[in-house]
Symmetry: C2
Subunit: 161 residues, 2 copies
């Protein structure tokens, strides 16, 4: 059940067969600084309320707030650190229903969880299966800031389950 | 019909009332370098096939490929430059059905379009309406690499349409 090598010796290396609907993975936490919010927004989403505290305060966001894409990318980083990085992940065809529920502000710390919604073998690729994850990000007040569903392809164990 | 000030003098400033289902906005183009792919992946999605050309070649992606989140963020940048940046945009509640169709490789140039799928006034906020955009990104071979639906809130004109 445990593979050794590039993953942490303390973490089980995960194949398709290890996932079951209903499982929940803790993905750890990440802090969000004003500098990171502004740097990301400057490159990808330079709307005033993502760049300037005054413009943020004047907007419905109520203050300088991270681009929703930034929040989603922080979810990817947590998903990598907490699951994908010690797995046989082969990529993903996309995202279903990414929902931005609350602004992410400087000084927030986001904590991620991934719940397994469904698993199925891939008909087109016998060596892989598809696992649909529900990634949820909450802030330090335990309020949800974003959720998304992510179907991810994982290799099966060699020689079958 | 034209507002003057922070947007380009050559671009019409867009309010909710300016959008109609079936309209299509060209969003321009952006080039993708190997350095940018690796820098983004290092921060947000450090899977081997997003960091290392050899690992990319060994994967189903067929070569070093941008994180799908990177591609999506480049779509946001094109959407900002081509539409959002000269509009009354107030933010977005999320994304529906983000689809990664083909790998994005170093040297690719992505061209974006936004098609208006639907518009409706917001019941909860009389001063705004919701416009659902279909953002499509194609590479230099005119092959689609990603699409997503993005409902976006825009202010109405003051004093009504």
């Amino acid at each position: 059940m445990f593979a050794f090598g590039y993953m942490s010796a303390m973490k089980q290396y995960l194949y398709f067969e290890d996932f079951e609907a209903g499982q929940r993975y803790d993905l750890g936490s990440i802090a969000v600084s004003e500098d990171a919010i502004i740097e990301f927004a400057s490159e990808f989403d330079p709307q005033p309320f993502h760049l300037d505290p005054k413009a943020g305060s004047d907007s419905m966001l109520g203050g300088l707030a991270a681009s929703g894409w930034h929040t989603a990318c922080l979810g990817m980083k947590l998903l990598y650190d907490g699951l994908i990085g010690h797995s046989s992940c082969q990529g993903s065809p996309g995202i279903n229903t990414l929902s931005w529920k609350r602004p992410v502000m400087p000084g927030d710390t986001l904590t991620g969880t991934a719940e397994i919604l469904a698993t199925r073998p891939l008909q087109s690729r016998d060596e892989m299966g598809l696992v649909t994850l529900l990634v949820s990000l909450a802030n330090q007040d335990k309020a949800l800031v974003a959720t998304y569903e992510n179907p991810v392809m994982f290799l099966k164990r060699k020689g079958g389950a």
